[in-house]
């Protein structure tokens, strides 16, 4: 048995159907695997199936037969090994049911054997964490990182909250990626407060633009088209700014259910020639995309971490972002160097005013190098990998 062997258990990992889901888990694996003797990723992919009891029992019986014979390891990021496992989960909203089904599925895939690694790191305590705890060696250290934007919904249900409490009790350490989740968990489980810490997602700092942008005219948004990201708000504010400066352009990287409405709003605001819809973009393309634009704008209502803000600054691009929880924590101490933050309010004037003020200050009173160096020390692959390794092998909780 090797000493630096790690298992990662996660409900999210990029696959050909959803190439962006869990890209931060892959980044974590890519960063940390090189410092281990072996890192195995167990991707428990939740697939909805019937909740009819009789049919579900038949599905369980089939899965008992299929799981031990249907999962084959393949190479993945950083030299790690990936095990893709289909978790056939009944169509119910109860998160505790999902948790138990994920744990049961992993046990089936392992043919009843425990995970071989002495260190297990799970993503999403309710799903990956519980599955990890139920399948780890008795002497294994088990950690988990919470990323979920739906954690409040999980904790609102008594059964799920009780199970989460049990999970926290059994974990050796639980980490969150940002202040909003830290506050939520601390409030819900004050008796576990000492066990909860911060652990960031890694961001690629290896490439950057040669010079900072001279003018902030080419705007970029990288965000899903859902209500929380407030792309409609961004479009309205952009329209107001462009009324004053017709050379402004906006690139929207992302996709989602609101796309038809957003395209219609773009036309309604007379922005058809100034706004480009790129669709969903592969994570590998993000750094180059950031570097090709002058300003990264982010109007999200709520973020658990704000990885795109870090990605923008890693590429050397200033940011204009909401105080959404994640972004303001990330930029704490370098807010003015990095760009500008504005409050989450419904009036687009908040973004417009922040933009105009930033345009006055940039580039003379911004310091992108300083902001970048500050963030690199916390969020680069090397920094995040070092932190994980110290937790896993060096005694840090």
């Amino acid at each position: 048995m090797t000493a630096r062997r790690v298992a990662v258990v996660t409900p999210w990992y990029p696959d050909p159907h959803l190439p962006f889901r869990g890209s931060f888990v892959r980044a974590m694996v890519e960063a940390t695997a090189p410092g281990t003797d072996r890192l195995d990723v167990y991707h428990l992919n939740g697939w909805p199936v019937t909740r009819d009891r009789e049919r579900l029992a038949a599905v369980e019986a089939l899965q008992e037969r299929l799981l031990p014979r249907s999962v084959r390891p393949v190479p993945t990021a950083g030299g790690a090994v990936l095990h893709r496992i289909a978790a056939a989960v009944e169509r119910v909203r109860d998160h505790a049911v999902h948790a138990r089904r994920h744990a049961w599925t992993l046990r089936g895939a392992l043919a009843g054997e425990p995970l071989a690694a002495p260190v297990v790191h799970a993503h999403v305590p309710m799903l990956g964490g519980y599955a990890a705890l139920e399948n780890a060696r008795p002497d294994a250290k088990v950690y988990a990182t919470e990323h979920s934007s739906f954690l409040a919904e999980v904790l609102a249900d008594t059964g799920s909250r009780d199970l989460y409490d049990e999970i926290l009790d059994r974990l050796d350490g639980c980490f969150v990626v940002g202040e909003p989740l830290f506050a939520l968990l601390g409030e819900a489980f004050p008796h576990h407060a000492a066990k909860i810490g911060y652990l960031a997602n890694p961001v690629d700092f290896t490439s950057r633009r040669p010079e900072p942008p001279a003018e902030l005219r080419r705007w970029l948004s990288v965000a899903a088209f859902n209500e929380r990201k407030r792309i409609d708000y961004l479009l309205r504010a952009f329209a107001d700014c462009r009324a004053e400066d017709p050379e402004l352009t906006l690139t929207l990287a992302g996709d989602g259910e609101l796309r038809p409405e957003l395209e219609a709003l773009t036309a309604e605001l007379g922005l058809a020639g100034a706004v480009e819809f790129l669709g969903a973009v592969e994570p590998d393309r993000i750094p180059a995309l950031m570097a090709e634009h002058d300003l990264f704008v982010h109007a999200s209502r709520h973020e658990t971490f704000g990885v795109v803000v870090v990605e923008a600054l890693a590429a050397g691009t200033p940011v204009l972002a909401t105080r959404s929880g994640g972004s303001d924590q990330v930029l704490d101490g370098v807010e003015d160097d990095a760009g500008a933050l504005f409050d989450v309010v419904d009036d687009p004037a908040a973004l417009v005013d922040a933009y105009l003020a930033l345009r006055e200050r940039h580039p003379h009173k911004t310091d992108l190098d300083r902001a970048r160096a500050h963030l690199s020390a916390k969020y680069s692959y090397a920094a995040v990998a070092d932190r994980h390794h110290r937790i896993w092998f060096g005694g840090e909780r």
Partner: protein
């Protein structure tokens, strides 16, 4: 190898398209059995892939004309003509008579579609005799309960998987 990729509801078309392409590139004979329709638009299936499209979403159970007339159209038509005073009665009729009819119709449609899917899958598995069976979505596992155990009993050497991935150790 002969690879049968099952995606009976086509709920993960991106995975099905990418993985079948990969399998074809690796030199396998690939048969994709899936629900057809707009979900595949823009998915760029590899031309080497053989396909069996289920097209079950266009199938709907029929309601006997007598039931449709006597329990839906005539009563609701009469109540509509009576106007506003009959609206509470119309609502009650919809709730107590029409809704159960809709539920029954929906159940029969689901059963008809599933029977069709199972028949096509059964025929395909028998004729194609796959060496590698990929159950590429939840519905494939759910329907698999009807034929996978028998297949594995008769041909235990059949490889099963939830995805086709290059470099998978056998």
């Amino acid at each position: 190898m002969k690879l049968l990729y099952l995606a009976p509801l086509a709920s993960r078309p991106g995975a099905a398209a990418a993985e079948t392409r990969l399998a074809a590139e690796d030199g396998h004979r690939v048969l994709l059995l899936a629900e057809g329709g707009p979900k595949w638009e823009g998915r760029d299936l590899d031309p080497r892939i053989e396909t069996v499209w289920l097209d079950t979403f266009s199938m709907n159970a029929a309601e006997p004309l007598l039931i449709s007339l006597c329990r839906r159209r005539i009563p609701l038509g009469v109540l509509r003509r009576l106007g506003r005073p009959a609206e509470p009665l119309a609502r009650r009729w919809r709730r107590s008579v029409v809704k159960p009819l809709d539920r029954d119709l929906s159940r029969r449609t689901a059963a008809m579609r599933e029977a069709h899917r199972l028949a096509r899958i059964g025929d395909t598995v028998r004729e194609f005799a796959p060496d590698l069976l990929v159950l590429g979505e939840g519905a494939a596992i759910e329907l698999g309960v009807h034929f996978v155990p028998e297949l594995l009993d008769h041909r235990p050497e059949t490889v099963t998987a939830y995805a086709y991935e290059r470099g998978a150790a056998a």
